[in-house]
């Protein structure tokens, strides 16, 4: 009875039923929209829902409020000094928007919207982003067909290491060191080191 266990299933855990899986299986895949639920929504319904449930943080035009993220705008800024990364300007796949809103929004009450409500909000946001017509009902098939502006903006292979190793030990500098940034101690953005109570 002391022989090490052979390689075979241990038999721990319980078979997951179809119903159990269905309840937790909320992911939607970006490129092909796999996992999008049945249902549909309209831009008009989406506008109302967004005003009620989202605009407090993201603004009435999804332009962001305070430090909350802006969701719309920013096209053409990605290669600038001040890139604005929004759903419109940056997100490569529209189904990911469905996935994320369903899993995480509204912030503090995630998974509280119906599938149709999420379609409506996504429709409104995509319309704001100028990739979905105002009068067209959005469903899974429609969402799969949306081509986001930054669809081809990502490089999947990791090109690192992207800097050459420098192992010089002695007299390595051609020029004396020059301070390029020294404001940290005076900027005043560092929290004070006060203690917990």
């Amino acid at each position: 009875q002391t022989k090490p266990a052979a390689h075979k299933p241990f038999g721990f855990g319980t078979a997951a039923t179809k119903e159990q899986i269905a309840g937790w299986n909320i992911d939607v895949r970006g490129p092909d929209g796999a996992g999008l639920p049945p249902g549909k929504g309209t831009v008009a319904d989406g506008e109302q829902l967004f005003m009620d449930q989202c605009s407090a943080c993201h603004g009435e035009f999804a332009e962001g409020a305070g430090r909350y993220p802006e969701l719309i705008g920013g096209r053409g800024t990605l290669n600038s000094n001040d890139p604005r990364k929004t759903v419109e300007s940056y997100w490569p796949y529209a189904p990911t928007l469905y996935d994320y809103i369903r899993r995480a929004m509204p912030f503090g009450a995630p998974q509280s919207l119906t599938d149709d409500q999420v379609y409506s909000i996504v429709a409104w946001l995509l319309n704001q982003a100028n990739v979905w017509p105002e009068d067209k009902t959005l469903d899974a098939a429609g969402l799969r067909q949306v081509k986001m502006p930054n669809r081809d903006g990502f490089l999947a292979g990791d090109p690192r290491p992207d800097v050459k190793p420098d192992t010089c030990m002695t007299n390595c500098r051609k020029t004396p060191p020059k301070i390029t940034s020294d404001l940290a101690a005076r900027l005043g953005v560092t929290p004070t080191q006060k203690t917990a109570d």
């Binding site: 241990f10 503090g108 490089l155 030990m169 004396p176």
Partner: protein
Amino acid sequence: MLAGAGVGEAMAAGDDNLPPNVPEWMKTLGSSVTAHPYGMPSQYEKNVIRRNVGWLTATEESSINFTPIHELDGIITPNGVCFERHHGGAPDIDPDQHRLMIHGLVDRPLIFTMSDLMRFPSVSRIHFIECPANGGMEWKGAQMDGVQFSHGMVHCCEWTGVKLSTLLAEVGLQKSAKWLLAEGADAAAMTRSIPLDKALDDVIVCYSQNGERIRVENGYPLRLLVPGWEGNVNVKWLRRIKVGDQPWHHREETSKYTDLMPNGIARQFTFVQEANSVITSPCPEKPMKFGKGFYEIRGLAWSGHGRIKKVDISTDGGNNWHTADLQTPVLSRALTRFRFPLQWDGRPMLLQSRAMDESGYVQPTIEALRAVRGLNSIYHKNSIHTWRVKPDGEVENVQIA
């Protein structure tokens, strides 16, 4: 004891407790063995805490705090001060009601209780976890006046759990399986796609951290440990693993955790945390307050590619380098403590550390990194860090060219 006197700073105490006097705590019994069934640090250590940066995030639930690495020694981070990063707050999960579901391209979709998971063969490993945004506030210039904030999104613990490969063997992978989706049971239902190769290599589904069960803030009761890879993929409060044939391109791997290059193209799935290091003493919080003379320079180095092989120290902004001592054993993908004896002549210094790992990778200068990546990639800023030491021993975060 001077009750009521300020904690964390020298007290004008009189000398009642100093030799030749007998300190008061020798004249009366201390606390009993039943006083603290679970102990906490001394009341005099109230400054050793995680701190956040209020202006950094819109909310404190989708936010970050920082390990006080300037207060720590050795390589183990105590659980109480391991930095936190979460996207919907740290959930208070009842472990008896927590489940891990594994499904998708598998032969036998299964649901595991915590008790099920603990029955499998277990492994323990000491590994760092680092947020890829560590140092990210400093791409454009030195900004944070303290090493807790410039480098504190890292910790190193002994993690215990079951190898993910064991669980995947249990459910039976189908031939087409190539990627996994890991999902958390928090209010962000945090998801990340992970390639199957890595999953089968060294990923652990963990339930313990430094011996005891994982802390709530770090994923209780279950998290992924993806050795050497960016913190975000080490999904906390793990509730679901779905097996698929391609990545999901979810929000946290498109909108976030992608590295925007100057040409407007973003790198995606840049998983590994390349070698990094920082001097933790001195630092802005721990100035060289004794004037000229001997100081032990202390710091931390780490690499997602394996073992740290060498750490060099420069006091002249990178013109000359001297090799530091490494605390043994040097562990793969773990924090590595380095120490270097310095005789300070009291003159200004530009103090730096430069880590090399066993892959041959060498930590680059900020210049070299910017030359390739520009200023807007947020993540993976692992450049050589510079402390300016002033003649009075004060230490400032600066950047040099």
